[in-house]
């Protein structure tokens, strides 16, 4: 089951890997272990979720012939047109992600700040030249939460605890997390206590820089005069600090307008 350390390499997003029939590519990334096997007539995907106390920082992949124990669930797919290339494409979360700072942050009246948050991404296993998607695997098992005025009105979100770092260098860069700069502007005459914030991850596209890090466009949230509404704006461009980036995945949902107004209580706790 264990793979040779000599063959172990760093995994890369969006790069086609060629497999020979009978070979298995093994990935250890985020909180999962993934095996992709190519057979003469089919693809096989096995994955298992690890219960880890700490976040792993690296992504390793190995090509070999070893398979995991039979207890690891197996998915089988018909192999078409003798395609032998497999590509791993990242995708943002399919629900908004609630960012909850370990320590609440207060934004004074008329103040603004930018916090950097890292949200876990999903891995799409795509095969062939047309990159047909076979499976989509979350790289960290997200817990769910509810954001809304009451248990009747609101929406289901993923939950992510965060240090809400305000210094970009302090944000850990991991190949399975996308960094989003969130600018919060408090235009009210009262301080704003940021206990939690719902980041609309399905509206964000994913970009990869030269160091293999994933970035999304920045999000600006402007809290207006009253508590009932806040406006949200997804930036067109990436942060300059991200460096030269290439797009790797579109947003899951299209933003109808450049400026999105949502109920205040759906955005903040």
């Amino acid at each position: 089951m264990e793979n040779n350390n000599e063959n172990r390499r760093d995994g890369v997003w969006g790069q086609p890997y060629a497999l020979a029939s009978g070979q298995t590519q093994f990935h250890q990334l985020g909180h999962i272990r993934l095996w992709v096997t190519l057979l003469d007539l089919e693809w096989q995907i096995r994955s298992e979720t690890l219960e880890l106390d700490t976040d792993p920082a690296s992504w390793t992949e190995t090509i070999g012939h070893t398979l995991p124990a039979a207890s690891v669930p197996l998915q089988r797919f018909v192999r078409e047109k003798q395609s032998s290339a497999v590509t791993f494409v990242p995708a943002v979360a399919n629900l908004p992600t609630v960012i909850r700072p370990y320590q609440p942050l207060t934004i004074p009246a008329g103040g603004r700040c930018t916090i950097y948050v890292g949200t876990p991404v999903w891995m799409k296993v795509c095969v062939g030249e047309r990159q047909t998607m076979l499976a989509e695997v979350p790289l960290a098992l997200p817990s769910l939460t509810w954001v809304g005025r009451n248990t009747m009105e609101g929406e289901l979100c993923y939950s992510s605890t965060s240090y809400a770092r305000m210094v970009l260098e302090a944000v850990p860069k991991r190949p399975w997390r996308a960094v989003t700069p969130v600018t919060l502007i408090n235009r009210r005459s009262e301080p704003l206590l940021l206990e939690r914030f719902s980041l609309p991850t399905p509206l964000l596209s994913l970009h990869q820089n030269e160091r293999g890090q994933l970035w999304t466009p920045g999000v600006t949230v402007e809290v207006e005069t009253d508590m009932n509404s806040a406006s949200l704006h997804v930036d067109q461009f990436l942060l300059a600090a991200a460096g030269t980036c290439r797009p790797v995945a579109d947003a899951r949902e299209k933003l109808a307008r450049g400026r999105l107004v949502r109920a205040f209580d759906r955005m903040f706790g």
Binding site: W146, T151, E155
Partner: protein
């Protein structure tokens, strides 16, 4: 023979043709609308619009068919009025169900695809029709409930809101530390991916029962994960309590066979059952 030759066969044939054409076109249009709306709207709305399109087309073609057959619409409507009064008394139930059906459509207490509970029947709504609502129960039974019953009785819609709270009741032995059990339960909720972080899970001590301290453990799950949430959590609770050596007691029953007979001798078999705590009084005395 003259009777047959006097009948305007051509007129009747074209009338019948119009009727059949109406049914065919109505069905075709209904299906097309259904296909168009399938990915764009809910199942409930799709079915409602499909039916509306079908009935409108069929009614239009029926009117045309009647006119073609030589009936005046005024006469037909007049006859229908008289018929309504005449058969109204005989069809009270049907009329009541039809009117109730209209109220159900307007009030919309449930939609097609919702899980509802009517009296003691729980099932998925698979059809809301003119006279009745059809349910498919969890054990795959078809249940037809008259619309009138649904208007009169209490209906619980289990799918209306996106999240549900599950309340699990468990008893723990009097000797155990209740606060430790509560902390353990909340830790389980934190680990379970089906369990929502907000609204927060909580525990309540509800009663000092005959053989146990009764604790209510409440947590929220998405409506799609109710079954796995409940079952998964109960398994996790059992495992966690066993692991922490916390006893879940069961009611103890003493069987008395009369003053002149010897007491029954009860012996517990199996590993782990012969501890001091588990020995019965009868065993101690012997």
């Amino acid at each position: 023979m003259k009777v047959f030759t006097d009948i305007a066969w051509g007129q009747w044939l074209s009338s019948g043709f119009l009727l059949v054409l109406g049914l065919f076109l109505g069905s075709l249009a209904g299906r097309s609308v259904s296909r168009f709306m399938a990915g764009r709207s809910s199942r409930h709305h799709t079915v409602m619009v499909r039916r509306l399109v079908f009935y409108v087309i069929v009614v239009l073609f029926s009117i045309a068919s009647l006119r073609e057959a030589g009936f005046s619409l005024d006469v037909v409507l007049g006859a229908a009025g008289i018929l309504t009064v005449a058969i109204g008394f005989a069809s009270q139930t049907s009329a009541s169900n039809m009117i109730s059906g209209l109220f159900l459509l307007v009030e919309k207490p449930f939609e097609i695809g919702d899980f509802i509970e009517v009296d003691a029947t729980l099932g998925e709504v698979i059809g809301i029709d003119m006279l009745s609502v059809k349910l498919r129960t969890a054990d795959n039974l078809f249940v037809r409930i008259p619309n009138e019953t649904l208007i009169k009785t209490r209906v619980i819609n289990r799918s209306r809101f996106p999240i549900r709270r599950l309340d699990l009741m468990l008893g723990i032995a009097y000797a155990e530390d209740v606060e430790r059990v509560e902390a353990l339960l909340l830790e389980l909720a934190e680990k379970d991916p089906s369990c929502l972080e907000e609204p927060k899970p909580f525990t309540l001590v509800t009663a000092f029962g005959p053989s146990s301290v009764d604790v209510q453990f409440s947590f929220w799950v998405p409506k799609e994960r109710v079954l796995e949430g409940r079952s998964g959590m109960m398994v996790a609770i059992k495992k966690a309590l066993d692991h922490a050596e916390i006893e879940i007691p069961f009611p103890h029953t003493s069987v008395y066979a009369g003053s002149h007979s010897e007491p029954f001798r009860v012996q517990l078999l199996g590993p782990g059952t012969n501890t001091e705590k588990d020995l019965l009084d009868a065993n101690k005395d012997s």
